[in-house]
Amino acid sequence: MRFLPTALVSLLALGAASCDSSCSGIKAPPVDRASPRLATLTPSLTALAVHLDAREHLVGVSRHGPQVSGVPVVAGVRPNVEAVLYVEPDIVAIGKFPSNSADIARLRAIGRFRVMELGVVTLGDLRASALALGSALNRSPLALAFAERLDASLAAARASTISATRPRALVVYGRSGGIFYSTGGGDHVADILEALGVRNVTAGGPVSVRVSLERVIHLAPDTILHVMPEPDIKTTADAMTFWEKVAPTLPAVERGRIIAWSDNTLSLNGPEIVGAIASLTQRLEALPR
């Protein structure tokens, strides 16, 4: 029993000690290294870091996203704070989502590294994040070059002839039974459609929209874009077969205006989106009018 008060006092002392380092508004140390150690906790940011030729800065990456040889995984859906601390980063880059706010606050409270909370949802976010990351990693020229390529691909999309017919497109991120998952706007795919002059038939809803097949038939899209491969829809031919079977009267099916993406270059808002925009522009232009 005499052990109990000692243990309680020790616990209180430990609590106070941990509060010293996490609850008193300690600021992150300034990053003054020429070659800062970077942990990226979001796939898009890992891809950006690799694209900015900052592979040697990476000391931790997210499990979902590009893997870098010899670099440990320090985050899955959520960051593994202990793993992050273990790799001793100078900078921790994490995507800015509402669901991340608690994790970001927790990482900030540690105070042992600079936390960069970077947007990755829209193309504007991606551009700004590339510039911010480039600046932090002393890679500003490369980041600027990426931003210019992104701007150029969007300009080319705007200059294309696609907008002349104002296509009405359904974007499909995935399917479960008779429900399709689409975008209501506010993400990078919606930005690309806007640049192309393509109307999104599910615009106006939440960012992630569940659409029944009945509503798809009612919305009557004349173009369908499967932006992610699925087990039964990996190619445009698969997508065409699927839609001919389930909704043959859709204008998109009747006119053969269906495109499927067989990789995640369009669905992941990362550096490869520049090529994906150019490719989508070409493929939309090649569709029958």
């Binding site: 995935g174 039974g177 038939i217 039964d232 079977k245």
Partner: protein, 334 residues
């Protein structure tokens, strides 16, 4: 409020006719309301959009809702009687966890819709039959053990699902989550699903109807049931196996739709009384009615809010408070 008087042919007929009429009205409403306005003059025209919407989308979906609701309501009433426990329902016996795990396993293995459906069906069956087997000792099914093992199986399956999601790639995680949300929207590539639901539900309905009187006797306790010529353990084993089939099919096809199997039998018992000869068919009709109405609400809201809510959310949001109200009412009546 509970109808405690003996079951008369008049009450039997009136209750079922009333529920049948309400279900028919709800079905008509469900055909009328949807995610898209319908040009009724065109529904008979082959190849028209209106015909495609009504016959290929709305009717199979309403049929799925009716059948899944009937299965959940009827199974809930049967399980509550078999286990003599008011909390018994299909999902508490591990079936939801089993179906979710089976379906997710199929997703991880890269199987398409059919594989996920079969995985869900297999998982639900394995869970229900496994729970029954684990709760059986020396040929006797122990009702309390069954509930406890069901809870453990659900928790285990939940943990296994999380483990799976932690180990697979982001696209597979997304696919698993989408699948777990469930929907009554018929899978356009699997048009045979409503027939499977109808077949398994029909089989269970016939067996349950023949066992209704035995379930009434079982409610008096196992010893009394034995003295009256009912073998409780054999009855439980038979009925658990028989209700497993439609429950597994319903959960695999529609995902998690909670509360229907729990609340409908309680609500029906207030009106129809505890006699299983009426309680079972009335719960089937009540379940069908509730699920069709919930799905109609979901479909009607889709064009307004721009997205389709999972119907399980609606049944849980409405069912939770309703269950508490029912509980307070029956407790108050004491």
């Amino acid at each position: 409020m509970t109808a405690r008087s003996p079951l008369t042919p008049r009450r039997f007929a009136l209750t079922l006719l009333g529920l049948l009429a309400a279900t028919a009205l709800a079905t008509g409403l469900a055909a009328w309301i949807g995610a898209a306005p319908l040009d009724w003059s065109q529904v008979g025209v082959e190849g028209s959009n209106a015909a495609a919407v009504l016959w290929d989308q709305r009717v199979p979906r309403i049929l799925t809702a009716l059948l899944a609701g009937a299965i959940l309501g009827m199974s809930g009433a049967a399980l509550q009687g078999l286990l003599r426990n008011d909390l018994a329902e299909p999902f508490i016996l591990g079936v939801s966890g089993g179906a979710g795990l089976g379906s997710a396993l199929a997703t991880v293995l890269g199987l398409a819709s059919l594989g996920e459906l079969l995985g869900g069906f297999g998982g639900a069956l394995v869970a229900l039959l496994g729970v029954t087997a684990l709760a059986t000792r020396h040929g006797r099914v122990r009702p309390l053990d069954m509930l406890l093992i069901g809870v453990i199986v659900n928790a285990f399956a939940g943990a296994a699902l999380l483990l799976m999601q932690a180990l697979v790639d982001a696209a597979t995680v997304q696919r698993i989550l989408l699948r777990l949300m469930g929907s009554l929207s018929a899978d356009p590539t699997q048009p045979w699903v409503p027939y499977v639901l109808a077949g398994t539900a029909g089989l269970a309905a016939v067996v349950l109807a023949r066992s209704a009187q035995a379930l009434n006797v079982l409610s008096l306790g196992d010893d009394t049931a034995r003295s009256l010529g009912v073998a409780p353990d054999r009855l439980r084993l038979l009925l658990f196996v028989v209700v497993s089939l439609p429950i597994g099919a319903a959960v695999a096809a529609t995902g998690m739709i909670g509360f229907v199997g729990l609340i409908v039998p309680h609500a029906v018992r207030l009106v129809a009384g505890p006699d299983h000869r009426l309680l079972l068919p009335a719960s089937a009709l009540g379940g069908a009615l509730v699920l069709v109405l919930a799905d109609t609400l979901v479909r009607g809201l889709e064009p307004v809010i721009g997205t389709e809510l999972p119907v399980g959310i609606v049944t849980a949001l409405l069912g939770g408070p309703l269950f508490i109200a029912l509980l307070r009412r029956t407790s108050g009546g004491g």
